[in-house]
């Protein structure tokens, strides 16, 4: 069968990926390493019906998260109504006071959301994490699919698979929806960024200009792109791949050298769209995650279609007790950390680590969430010529254009270590293509 043929081409595809510069940069001990993001040719396959269900749930979730962000930076009704305690908003590092009272173009805060899911052994999908700041990863399955189609065209002729190379179109539609008039640009911190390959690839695929901070300038409350010939041309939308703190030294971290002075003031006046809007971190905080099903009920009057992993907030007395009683069965996460850092498993701690942790938990209960360890499904990968099972998750991409759009694919990441549940690429994991069947 042609599916097997694809597997024979794994090495070819990986070689091509390396040649195209599909790399992942990481900083370790203050030095910059680029490593390949290993591709495994066995795809994750999702049936059409199953994906329909995911799509509905993902749209619902992202719509609610956008309403939440609008509420938090204006009326704060959900806090006033006691649904979410104030502490979880104002003590969160993702909350940005500078964003108060600012309305992004068309009220869109999270234009691109990367929602991480896992599938339990019983077939139930669980949401693990929402990423609403600058989620990365869509380019990897896009280019992998392209290379796979080239190396094994027959595979794709036989199977009815949704073409995922339309991501650029969806992204373009999302940019055009909020463009206030002018160029579309993708703002990159530069080639030493972990996701630089993705920035350049998406620029090429969407037809947007790839720019760095020094090529943009603010004048009279408008944003301009400086062309190669020195001309200034108006910018209408910036898909920025720079985190909030570094985006504008005059409004955020004054030490940023990669940002654009006053770009946030232009945004504030509605004269440019920023994707994603600054301040989104308050909604993808691991502490806020607990409240997303309540948010869906509050803003939409609906029950959440997709489940959270069972989560406890030690902030609440009852949950704190539960965490103490069931410590060894839980995974504990520091709400301020991302990328697989700050995650500890209760049963993997030494006695000393455990007592240190419990002390920390007692003093700063708001800082942690605890979750049941979901025994999620393994996916097969090829490791040294052998087919072996490994833990894998799925990052689904939801784009908020004139309507919410779910990309019919996604980034499936797996752990190369047989004992690990942590699949993050910054922790050395690999990736797979995600095939959504069209019938």
């Amino acid at each position: 069968m042609d599916r097997l043929k694809l597997l024979e081409h794994t090495d070819t595809v990986n070689e091509l990926l390396a040649r195209y510069g599909v790399k992942f940069g990481i900083y370790k001990n203050n030095t910059f390493h680029e490593q390949l993001f290993p591709f495994d040719a066995i795809p994750r396959v999702i049936e059409a019906d199953e994906f329909d269900y995911l799509e509905k749930g993902l749209k619902q979730r992202v719509v609610a998260l956008n309403l939440f962000l609008k509420d938090i930076y204006s009326k704060k009704q959900i806090v006033k109504d006691g649904v979410i305690p104030e502490d979880f908003i104002f003590a969160s590092s993702g909350y940005m006071l500078e964003c108060e009272g600012v309305t992004p173009v068309k009220d869109v805060y999270s234009h691109i959301s990367g929602i991480d899911l896992v599938k339990g052994k019983d077939g139930t999908w669980y949401i693990l994490e929402d990423n609403l700041r600058v989620p990365s990863g869509a380019s990897y399955p896009m280019i992998a699919r392209d290379l796979c189609r080239r190396s094994s065209p027959g595979t794709f002729a036989d199977l009815k698979i949704e073409d995922n190379r339309n991501y650029a179109k969806l992204l373009r539609r999302t940019m055009d929806n909020v463009n206030v008039g002018g160029h579309s640009v993708i703002l990159t911190p530069g080639r030493y960024n972990a996701a630089y390959f993705e920035h350049s690839y998406l620029a090429e695929q969407t037809g947007a200009h790839l720019v760095n901070g020094s090529e943009l300038v603010v004048e009279d409350d408008k944003l301009y792109f400086i062309t190669a010939s020195g001309k200034k041309e108006r910018v209408g939308v910036v898909y920025r791949r720079i985190s909030d703190e570094y985006l504008d030294p005059m409004n955020f971290n004054p030490e940023s050298l990669i940002g654009i002075p006053h770009i946030y003031d232009v945004f504030r006046k509605g004269n440019v769209a920023l994707m994603n809007a600054p301040g989104n971190g308050v909604a993808d905080d691991k502490g806020i995650y607990y409240f997303v099903p309540k948010m869906i009920k509050y803003y939409l009057g609906e029950d959440a279609i997709l489940n959270n992993a069972p989560t406890y907030l030690p902030f609440y007395e009852e949950d704190y007790k539960y965490v103490l009683d069931n410590f060894d069965n839980l995974v504990l996460k520091d709400v301020a950390e991302a990328g697989g850092y700050g995650v500890v498993f209760g049963n993997k701690m030494t006695k000393q680590q455990k007592s240190d942790f419990l002390e920390l938990l007692k003093n700063e209960p708001r800082r942690f969430i605890a979750q049941e360890v979901i025994d999620f499904q393994d996916l097969d990968i090829i490791d040294k010529g052998e087919q072996v099972p490994r833990k894998a998750d799925l990052r689904a991409f939801v784009l908020m254009a004139d309507e919410p759009l779910v990309w019919k694919s996604g980034l499936t990441r797996f752990s190369r270590n047989p004992d690990s549940f942590i699949v993050n690429s910054s922790q050395g994991g690999g990736f797979k293509d995600t095939w959504v069947l069209s019938r």
């Binding site: 204006s74 009326k75 704060k76 806090v79 104030e86 502490d87 104002f90 003590a91 940005m96 006071l97 500078e98 964003c99 108060e100 009272g101 600012v102 300038v217 603010v218 004048e219 009279d220 409350d221 030294p249 005059m250 409004n251 004054p254 002075p261 006053h262 003031d265 504030r268 006046k269």
Partner: protein
């Protein structure tokens, strides 16, 4: 009521040429229950096209960029402000006020401030404003004003531990004490009669009204203060913020004057 005339200026002489600079100035008094500004004038040299806007806390700001090489930057803001029409400010839309209940940045209390607060024994005072005043009177006795002993990065806890500081430190510690008393409190930048520098004080929220208290001078804010901006701590409402390319060694010279130019006829 008093009518005050103020002038705020900043001058920087650079050792080397500056090729480009960006600035944000939060030095514009706004109209509220307690004060009415008039005759505002803004001058920036070398001239650049500045913009006006509001930050997240609705502080008014003047901002811009200067691309012409220069070795001197000066701005001056002046105006008249009628002050002392009320003891409080009562904003129409105060969705933001809950932000000021939570410790943040430089006002996060450590064990010394917490211990000190507990020693005050003011928890039984039911009236919020009286409680705030009481804490201010006591704190004034226990903290000393000493110029040039702290800097803009000094936290409330650090200043409290050494026992002395400047108006910024008085304000940060007092905000921390107010939070411990469950009273929303915010940092205020402004100008005051009889001083050659900008000043800082605190506003506390009592029944929907923000009352100004000046812990450095141990008194409520009434007709000597011109309010410029508010924040959770000093960083949210810094009067001057700028970045430049080039410049070398330089020290900004800030001059402030506030003079009374006439009493309202309704005042006795």
């Amino acid at each position: 009521m008093k009518k005050l005339h103020f002038e705020y200026s900043m001058e920087i002489n650079y050792a080397e040429m500056v090729s480009t600079c960006s600035y944000t100035i939060k030095c514009i008094p706004q109209k509220n229950n307690r004060q009415i500004p008039d005759n505002l004038a803004i001058g920036i040299c070398p001239p650049s096209n500045y913009c006006l806007g509001f930050d997240g806390l609705h502080n008014q700001q003047v901002y811009g960029r200067n691309d012409e090489p220069h070795d001197r930057f000066v701005y001056k803001i002046s105006g008249d402000v009628t002050v002392g029409m009320a003891l409080y400010d009562e904003p129409e839309n105060d969705d933001i006020s809950m932000v000021f209940k939570h410790p943040h940045g430089l006002n996060i209390p450590g064990s010394r401030i917490k211990e000190y607060y507990n020693s005050l024994g003011v928890d039984d005072i039911s009236d919020t404003y009286r409680k705030a005043l009481n804490v201010m009177y006591r704190f004034y006795e226990d903290f000393e004003y000493r110029p040039n002993t702290t800097d803009i990065y000094t936290t409330a806890e650090e200043a409290f531990a050494q026992g002395y500081g400047v108006c910024q430190d008085f304000a940060h510690i007092f905000i921390a004490l107010m939070h411990l008393a469950n009273i929303p409190a915010r940092y205020v930048t402004g100008l005051i009669t009889g001083e050659g520098a900008s000043h800082a004080w605190v506003e506390v929220l009592c029944e929907g009204r923000w009352y100004g208290l000046d812990p450095t001078n141990n008194k409520p804010v009434f007709d000597e203060h011109i309010k410029l901006g508010v924040g959770r701590d000093a960083n949210d409402c810094m009067i001057n913020r700028g970045i430049m390319r080039g410049g070398g060694v330089h020290t900004p010279i800030i001059k402030v004057s506030v003079e009374e130019i006439g009493k309202d006829i309704n005042d006795d």
